[in-house]
Symmetry: C2
Subunit: 463 residues, 2 copies
Amino acid sequence: HTLWPDSCRYVSKAAAKTQMEFEYDGPSMKTEVPGPRSKELTKQLGEMQNVGAINFFCNYEESRGNYLVDVDGNRMLDYRHLLHPYWLSAFVNRPALGIMPPENFPEKLSESLLSVAPSGMSRVQTMACGSCSNENAYKAMFIWYRNKERGHNIPSDEDMSSCMINQSPGCPDLSILSFMGGFHGRTMGCLATTHSKAIHKLDVPSFDWPIAPFPKLKYPLEEFKRENAQEEARCLEEVEDLIVQWRQKGRPVAGIVIEPIQAEGGDNHATPDFFKKLRNIARKHGSAFHVDEVQTGGGATGKFWAHEHWGMDDPADIVSFSKKMLTGGFYHKDELQAYRIFNTWMGDPSKNLFLAEVLNVIRRENLLEEVTRSGKTLLQGLYQLQDQYPNMLSSARGQGTFCAIDIRDDATRNSIILKARDKGVLLGGCGERSIRFRPALVFKEYHVHMFLNVFSDVLAEHN
Amino acid sequence: HTLWPDSCRYVSKAAAKTQMEFEYDGPSMKTEVPGPRSKELTKQLGEMQNVGAINFFCNYEESRGNYLVDVDGNRMLDYRHLLHPYWLSAFVNRPALGIMPPENFPEKLSESLLSVAPSGMSRVQTMACGSCSNENAYKAMFIWYRNKERGHNIPSDEDMSSCMINQSPGCPDLSILSFMGGFHGRTMGCLATTHSKAIHKLDVPSFDWPIAPFPKLKYPLEEFKRENAQEEARCLEEVEDLIVQWRQKGRPVAGIVIEPIQAEGGDNHATPDFFKKLRNIARKHGSAFHVDEVQTGGGATGKFWAHEHWGMDDPADIVSFSKKMLTGGFYHKDELQAYRIFNTWMGDPSKNLFLAEVLNVIRRENLLEEVTRSGKTLLQGLYQLQDQYPNMLSSARGQGTFCAIDIRDDATRNSIILKARDKGVLLGGCGERSIRFRPALVFKEYHVHMFLNVFSDVLAEHN
């Protein structure tokens, strides 16, 4: 925890003085820029991210007033302070990660995000939020797809001129295939793939992209294997039909995006077999496969990534994340890398420091095992209550503590949520009539029992 | 500065213990939820933002383990921890502002963002980044426009069902008019209005939205008044033509978006007269007027908002910001408010605390006057160098320290930037062959002289 005392001391000392006391008296150059240390760090970071836009690595502790100091000790008068009106904010706050990352950035990135990279992925791009993560993941898929179509990555003059006025071929008529009930964010690209609630989409212009049905399975999954397999086959067939139709329409499917469990849409599960076959369909038709783990990533399903439950070596081309990961971003395969994925902040490095801490605690306290244990107890409790109140409850389901249960109707659901809150238990809804359970990773079995008692009381009052 | 020692002490103390030491032994309810204090704070915040999604205000200092404590002292077992895998991250880090803001949020919002609200605007929506700010501002304009078309804000059944599959009327064919050379971000909605560099847009599907020419003026503006007025009139005429054309196409212009100075596009200025007339055109055709101050806001032009140079009482319907403001977001008129503008984080409240500090320093040290003074010296220096090197330099221009100058060609520009860096001065380019100056607000006149000496040496070497 040495991080904290240090940065705090710096801040409070700094805050007590005015900026002028800190000011250097002029530039001072020791090496060419980027110097050897910056070059070494750029090489390190290059193993994890695209580094095409990086000028040099910055020593934010030594930088002050109007001067930036780089990791080779060069002190430069800064005439392009794009971000900070005032040193306080610059040095304790948001460096422009894409251009001048701090010295410890590669190290922190490997301790945090890369230490939990999904199978087959060694590269990660951080972003400020979940929507930006998905927007940029889509852009990476479009760019990858167009390069594949061209056979190289050099755009034509027509590409370059037509894109400036939003026309094809520069802005191509490509599409992302998404699923009814999915939620991938609220910015306009993401929103075109979001289909959980009308209210998210209403009045916002959209794209003509294909939307496939997500399997509507019966729970518990193991009790309805045959019917569920039929339903999944129906949806997969529809996916292939849509890919063919949209190719014929001149809007080829550059990528498929899906959640391992549709969260906002009502905690809809599908089987590993479904996801394996979907992955194969993407491969067969040359579409990228994007698994959106913004809701499911970070351990709540009992594995760090929900897609690990599928048991595949090569589960995806892109995996996006946010929320529990504290920073947004996406992992991607080497070939989906694009220098052109860029913005000013590219996330916030302080979040990586937090995340490294969080991951340490998850490992030290075996929280994923804890989640699996608590989740099992929770789900068993829900099964019991569902047997006890068959008119009120149905379809208990879950992975780890990422659980949900359906309530008779929307009104009953809302009344149950309010009654539980009056008894000191905070629950949330999802889908049309589900209650979802999203406890923290430190939720222990005795918390589960405490909850089940309250929930049971509330249900008894409703019966 | 009491903020810092306190929050630091909290963090380091917390970090030294395990989470279990903090855990409460069960829920404890004191009032209904939301209780009187939450209701009072919701009312206060309602003056500044839409509060439709807020459940209660949270006391993050008292919340620990699996328990959330609200500002009325109710302690609730939290079964919907959407954001935090572990208390450390939750309490020192990112509350879900849209649902459970911290107690001091209304106060901090009025001390920070609302204390510098543009003329005619008393409401603000925070967002995590510049792109999200613009995306959500566009959505607010689309929703406002559709409500105006409907005559009320109740969607039809057809609206609700068609939007789920990305079709009109639910997802209407509305457009945003933007300007060639503009830059408004890189997510897909923003990107459809960005036209500064092809490389930003290439390979990403876009919308068929109208793009007007931005005036190409001669500098210094006061020496070419007549020609500049003609050029501005030409562009305004084109704007009206496009609005009419797109209405006829069935893609009405819901909003016009423009930067007060086109920054990425090459520091292109226009006169107050141009912006006044453009504002009137927007009003005449029923389009919202969105001023994007992501680059220009925060004081660099010598006024807090660049659009204040226009001298209008009612300059805009929406003003978006980010960068120097430390948080993203947008100010808007009452009628452009929408409950449906929402995401998980809605920005990061720690940024408001920083911003309040920054604003105090700006006021205490009269930094806007400083900027005006330094900017005048800088621009005069650039005029002199331009007279001295007429083959190399032209079109020196600026407001405050937000200045730029054109270089003979792209190669010379890049060589000048590198040579200046070797002498310890960091410069940046914009547009096709401009160098832009973006010093911090604390850039004093002696920094300007230091810079002009280095710049003069570099130019002498190039001549």
